[in-house]
Symmetry: C2
Subunit: 247 residues, 2 copies
């Protein structure tokens, strides 16, 4: 895989030509100043990785920012299992970008911003386009060809009805007591990970989650920011689900 | 525990008075504008949490930014086991702050910035004072009374000699192959977690780590930024070490 990765939602068959969109073309020609025959990797956000080369890159083409590529090989990458659905009370501003990036690197399938009782930040539906750009950038950066789907912001109760029942929620640690053990049987069935706002889920919300057999989990006894809870709990779940690669 | 937490390296016995330092006093009196009898929590960075009240806060004292507290109760919090020693190739600028914050929230004992072959950022010894302020802020934010020790930046080879032998290093995923299982026996002995720079450890560095029985581990098949690898692998280690609290 080339370290120069580009988003190309419609990758044609091997031997065919494809033109990158305006934003990706600008990235290739203006930012990286790639030249003819330079190798690059395309990812379609739907599990396909293609090795390609930049075909022509004369001055006129560079000016017009049309990057044309020839596809030389294609790989289908299996969708990671179990699918992890992240439901997260969005933290403020830039911190939501951090959440989106880490969730992409760690391979979640969907991300649903949830509106909780103790929410600090009311997510804007207009933010969705920006969030999608962040997810695409994170796919390119991490090499993950599976673009997570970002759902529209959704009230907690609606999300609860629409989500796979199995999973975990990030709990504010209740005590200094020694940890007990989870012995969840993991299979290939989808999992939900619920991360509440900085103030945590309300007691009512926690009870609804537990009534659906969503298991409370915390990493250590201290308070985690949302931006820390997301990667730490995804790391724990990968490890519990044996998705971590001990090489 | 009050949600207003202050760093106070010398907490006196119950019933005694203590004056917060200039920075903490400014935080209490100027930023939060606390008043007489307001409750606050003190943490000494060495495992002690104290509940206290602000004693006087007249206008003169507020101007001079001297916050005087009376200690009402004290709790000793056991040092988390196994101790986790983080050795990390520091990412650029603000991203190192993110690493320090998450490592504090997730309870590591020491942090050593390491100089690796593929380093992107040469850490500055002068940065240490700023890093310590970040760690103190993260202790206050997360309620962790154990302030991590930050070591001076250290070449990879020197760090290797000075570190507990057991542990893991973050590996760039080598293949799409299904994950295998780690069956590390975890006890109370200290653990090291090694996180390399964005380009990963060099082959020579990886071989030295493996020669010391430090186990390669990765979370999923994609490339993680250092800021993601630190919390995700700490989450996985907590979970492997049964340090995660399933309540």
């Amino acid at each position: 895989m080339s370290s120069r990765r580009f988003y190309c939602p419609d990758i044609p068959p091997v031997g065919s030509m494809v033109q990158l969109n305006a934003m990706e073309s600008a990235h290739a020609l203006k930012v990286l100043r790639l030249k003819a025959q330079d190798p690059l990797t395309l990812l379609d956000g739907n599990g396909t990785l293609a090795e390609a080369v930049l075909i022509v890159s004369d001055e006129r083409q560079r000016q017009e920012r049309h990057a044309l590529c020839r596809v030389d090989s294609i790989r289908r990458i299996p969708r990671p299992t179990p699918a992890i659905h992240l439901l997260v009370a969005p933290p403020r501003g830039k911190n939501m970008d951090t959440v989106l990036k880490t969730a992409t690197e760690l391979g979640v399938e969907t991300i649903t911003p949830i509106l909780c009782q103790f929410a600090v930040s009311k997510p804007d539906v207009d933010g969705k386009a920006t969030w999608e750009q962040t997810l695409i950038a994170a796919c390119k950066q991490s090499g993950n060809p599976w673009l997570p789907t970002i759902q529209p912001p959704c009230p907690f109760h609606d999300a609860l009805g629409a989500t796979p029942k199995r999973g975990f929620f990030g709990a504010v640690p209740q005590s200094w007591s020694p940890s007990s053990e989870t012995s969840s049987p993991f299979g290939d069935e989808p999992l939900a990970l619920w991360i509440g706002p900085e103030g945590g889920f309300s007691q009512a919300e926690e009870q609804l989650l537990m009534a659906q057999h969503v298991t409370p989990i915390s990493i250590g006894p201290w308070i985690l920011r949302v931006e820390t809870a997301v990667p730490a709990l995804l790391g724990a779940i990968h490890s519990l689900a044996k998705r971590s690669n001990a090489l």
